[in-house]
């Protein structure tokens, strides 16, 4: 990969009055990289995008793009283009004028404008719509015009604010594919804000999980899933949320930690023991797929079933251990388990994560997901 950094955030801070919304956010993007800002609403992910676009000022830190400091520049001079969540098309302008507006303001030659608009329209299949007004277009077409308006500017960086949230399910899948294609065609970096982890996971090279005014973790999607940096990321990424339960570290000779759950059952993890002893209370992290439902007495421990969710290909079983600890397990699609049953849970210790008292994640030496 080329090592030229495309976007760099250095200790970016932003506050509205006394309320800090971004607290020392640092990030470095590779050229041509597709990055997703993933986080719940109110996490500051949209604010961060708007800071990069120049729609919000920074209260501290630097934003650099292609080596140039841009946080003091007006939005139009930053070399970024944005696709707004609600498209923000100019309602009284034709599709053609919507796309050409920015280029005219930038003083691009007329012929060049026409060529770029036509190229973009052709690629996005909105050529027949060029002379229509936004109100005459369907939601999907408007979305494509909004993308077209960004493409014609040939920016160094595309900023996409929840680009798929206003589309119905079928259109969302198609647009997701289109975005992936677009990304392959243009020589630019992408940042997409989303609260939908499936979008983030499928489109992005790396995901920045944002929560509580900070970036909690940045990494490739599978790494975030397999090696979450802390309890919050572990529970936010993946569905259903990862089981997290308090455990007690057992004494032992082995390099890997063995722990005991609240109901007394033992789990042998592959997480290195080093540094865990004496640190304080630990928590275990178990994805539902590593808690398999078996017959009563046949697993690591027994539990009472409280709720069964049948998803077709698999069944999620929400159960409670004898000490009251809730644990979500998985069974095959044709499961006959019912609420109120006593079942066995076979916990795959090799896939278990441990969380230190400060919440930071410790992961098995050999990742079971590959």
């Amino acid at each position: 990969m080329v090592t030229l950094a495309s976007l760099e955030l250095i200790e970016v801070r932003k506050a509205y009055g006394a309320a800090t919304v971004l607290d020392g956010v640092s990030l470095s993007m590779q050229a041509g990289e597709f990055l997703a800002f993933l986080g719940p609403s109110g996490s500051g992910k949209s604010t961060l995008l708007r800071v990069i676009a120049g729609l919000e000022t920074v209260d501290g830190g630097e934003v650099r793009l292609g080596g140039r400091r841009i946080d003091q520049l007006p939005p139009g001079d930053r070399g970024v283009a944005m696709v707004f969540q609600h498209y923000a098309l100019y309602p009284h302008m034709s599709v053609r004028d919507n796309m050409a507006f920015g280029l005219r303001n930038a003083g691009v030659a007329k012929g060049e404008i026409g060529r770029r608009v036509l190229d973009a329209a052709r690629v996005l299949e909105i050529e027949p719509e060029l002379d229509r007004k936004p109100a005459q277009l369907s939601g999907g077409q408007r979305q494509r015009v909004a993308i077209g308006r960004a493409i014609v500017k040939q920016p160094q960086l595309f900023l996409l604010d929840e680009p798929l949230s206003n589309l119905d399910a079928a259109l969302r899948m198609r647009t997701r594919v289109q975005l992936a294609e677009l990304r392959n065609r243009v020589d630019a970096a992408f940042i997409m804000v989303t609260h939908d982890q499936a979008e983030a996971m499928t489109l992005a090279d790396r995901v920045a999980v944002i929560h509580d005014r900070r970036i909690q973790q940045v990494g490739p999607p599978m790494e975030i899933y397999a090696r979450p940096a802390n309890v919050w990321v572990a529970r936010f990424v993946g569905s259903p949320a990862m089981n997290v339960a308090p455990v007690e570290l057992l004494d032992g000779e082995s390099d890997s930690a063995s722990v005991r759950l609240g109901d007394g059952s033992q789990v042998d993890t592959r997480v290195p023991r080093a540094g865990l002893a004496g640190a304080g209370p630990l928590q275990i992290g178990l994805r539902a797929e590593s808690v398999r439902v078996t017959g009563a007495g046949a697993g690591t421990t027994d539990a009472r079933v409280e709720l069964v969710e049948r998803l077709g290909d698999r069944t999620l079983v929400y159960a409670r251990l004898s000490d009251g600890q809730a644990l979500t397990g998985e069974d095959r699609g044709a499961s006959r388990v019912q609420a109120g049953d006593i079942v066995g849970l076979r916990i795959e210790g090799a896939a278990a994560h441990l969380f230190a008292p400060d919440g930071s994640g410790r992961h098995p030496v050999e990742s079971t997901t590959a």
Partner: protein, 291 residues
């Protein structure tokens, strides 16, 4: 279906009835009565004789009516564009959050709640040549005070200025409402599209306010063509009819010369004129939509 419809109507009658009665009694009937009256010679003491089109023939060649009609259009031509421009500018300046802007919005709107009597009193204090506000200023500058209210070229303008001052509130509020309807994100998109302030105003704000502007112009034209109180109280239409609008002429005809038939004919003509102008504006304001 038919019986059902009749039952619905019966049930609706008590609700619509009272309003309908008032509407017919106070609006439709006088309108029609005025129309018939315009074909009669009539006075308020019961005298009424059919006169055919006589009243209409008379007004067509009445120089006083001609002058009043000319004045009325002058009022509209002066007041409407200036008022629209001023209220748009005010709305743009005051369309921001914060206490200062809201205080000023209130101040500029406050003139709209005053009655025409108060308005003319205030402007009398300003314009009157003996000890008026402007007269003092003129005299302090060592110049002869200007008799705004009795100068043939200035009386109409004086009334127009008072009218503008009085009418600022509503159009400003309409423009403010229009501005707040424009979604914030298209201004952000424009900022990313390198639009400067002027381009943003001309290409984004102004086109978005088009419907509001058409509404303001239509409402104000219809209102100014009916200008009456300010002219009567400030200048009494003088000097020599130089500031007399049509409605004042109608009023004088009906209630000082007691010619009700002729006054009705004048009123019918004004009604048709206002209707025609408003419709024309509506057509012009909406026809340049998408093809």
């Amino acid at each position: 279906m038919n019986a059902q419809g009749r039952r619905n109507l019966l049930q609706a009658a008590p609700f619509i009835g009272p309003f309908l009665l008032l509407y017919v009694g106070l609006l439709i009937y006088p309108l029609l009565d005025g129309l018939t009256l315009s074909f009669h010679r009539a006075d308020p003491f019961g005298g009424r004789a059919f006169a055919g089109l006589e009243n209409y023939a008379r007004l067509a060649s009445d120089p006083v009516f001609g002058q009043a009609l000319g004045n009325t259009f002058k009022y509209a031509v002066v007041v409407v564009p200036v008022l629209t421009a001023i209220t748009l500018a005010l709305a743009l300046a005051l369309n921001k959050p914060g206490r200062t802007a809201s205080v000023f919005r209130g101040l500029f709107f406050s003139s709209a709640v005053l009655s025409v009597t108060i308005i003319t009193l205030i402007w009398r204090f300003v314009l009157t040549p003996d000890a008026g506000l402007l007269a003092e200023v003129w005299e302090a500058a060592g110049r002869e005070p200007v008799p705004f209210l009795s100068h043939p070229d200035l009386a109409l303008l004086a009334v127009a200025v008072a009218t503008i001052w009085w009418s600022i509130g509503l159009p400003m509020m309409l423009f403010l409402a229009g501005l707040q309807q424009i979604p914030e994100d298209i201004f952000e998109a424009a900022a990313l599209d390198r639009a400067n302030r002027w381009t943003t105003f001309r290409r984004i704000t102004l086109p978005s306010l088009r419907r509001t502007a058409v509404l303001v112009v239509m409402l104000q034209t219809a209102a100014q063509l009916q200008l009456f109180g300010q002219a009567q109280l400030l200048t009494a239409g003088g000097p020599g009819g130089a500031s007399r609008p049509v409605v004042l002429f109608i009023y004088e005809t009906a209630f000082t010369r007691w010619e009700l038939g002729y006054a009705s004919a004048l009123a019918q003509v004004l009604f048709v004129l206002i209707l025609a102008v408003t419709l024309l504006q509506f057509r012009a304001g909406t026809s340049r939509r998408e093809p």
